[in-house]
Subunit: 189 residues, 2 copies
């Protein structure tokens, strides 16, 4: 459960100057998606954090304050939407490791979801950032699922990403132009 | 802001027996989507309720309790996903009125979102239930947006639904077989 950490990160990100390279992957993707919407290119959103609400107060008639709630495990990936008439779906994760990406970062529910979307012809992938290396990769569902089938390792080594994933460059607007890679994936279908 | 009400409704729905016809539209749709996933037909999910978290407690290292949060206005519709390789997107609303559906129930952000998805070739629609009439309709984005353009009324009369929308029958599994209508829409593209 790394949601609490995720929320902390969001708060910190707001203090960081937008010109700074130290922004979180989530912030980079959210800003990229905002930009894509502004230029009417794609409509991809981050899903709200799933929570279970257990206590709500009504200090006045049309106001509600959640007084107790818990983070719950997501059954899908964090991002989905529409691009060029296609269903787009992905999960984004950041790791501080400089050697590998630990598979425990992707919940079993999410792996199932990725399989289902892949089987039903959605465009589905992972975006993984090695923050201490300054490298961000787009790993297609196909390559990811093949790796899970063929390897018994509990992590994916950085060398695997360097060989089999697409390196995403950081820019200004969009911060991460991942749709250029999606264009290649769509073209290749 | 009718989210607090929505949550109340969810709680009540849990007490109601599944065989009962008194289930909320949201519960009917959630169960239909679960069924569609079970039979590997479609992967359509309700997005979590969007909230802004302002206070989190950590009673222990790996446990987090949200102590203060607020409901926020959604920028998209509630449901989206993948069916037959197509991007599916819709909003569902229930009204107690027996004469019309008030347009204030759909936020301006959501109307914009519906336009964008329609323009980018997603399958987008509304599911509206007149609970006191026992009638549930699928209204396509095209018909809905045309109505907004051509009418200055603040509501859509029931007669408009009876003429221009698709009546959805209630069943056991799925509770609402809205994908049969989506099949017609896909076929008609």
């Amino acid at each position: 459960m790394n949601y609490p950490g995720g929320i902390k990160k969001q708060k910190e990100a707001k203090i960081i100057n937008y010109g700074n390279r130290g922004m979180s992957l989530e912030e980079d993707i959210n800003l990229s998606n905002e930009y894509y919407r502004e230029i009417d290119k794609a409509y991809i959103y981050k899903k709200p954090t799933p929570i279970k609400i257990t206590k709500v107060d009504y200090p006045s008639r049309d106001k509600a304050v959640i007084k107790e709630a818990f983070f719950t495990i997501p059954s899908t990936t964090d991002y989905n939407g529409l691009y060029k008439g296609k269903y787009i779906d992905f999960e984004a994760k950041e790791t501080k490791s400089t050697t590998s990406f630990a598979l425990r970062n992707i919940h079993p529910h999410q792996i199932n979801h990725i399989k289902n979307i892949y089987n039903h012809k959605g465009i589905v992938f992972l975006i993984i950032r090695f923050s201490n290396l300054g490298e961000t990769y787009l790993l297609t569902a196909e390559t990811f699922l093949n790796y899970l089938n063929e390897s018994s390792k509990k992590s994916i080594p950085i060398e695997f990403f360097r060989k089999h994933a697409y390196l995403l460059k950081n820019g200004y607007n969009p911060r991460i132009n991942y749709l250029t890679i999606v264009d290649q994936l769509i073209g290749g279908i």
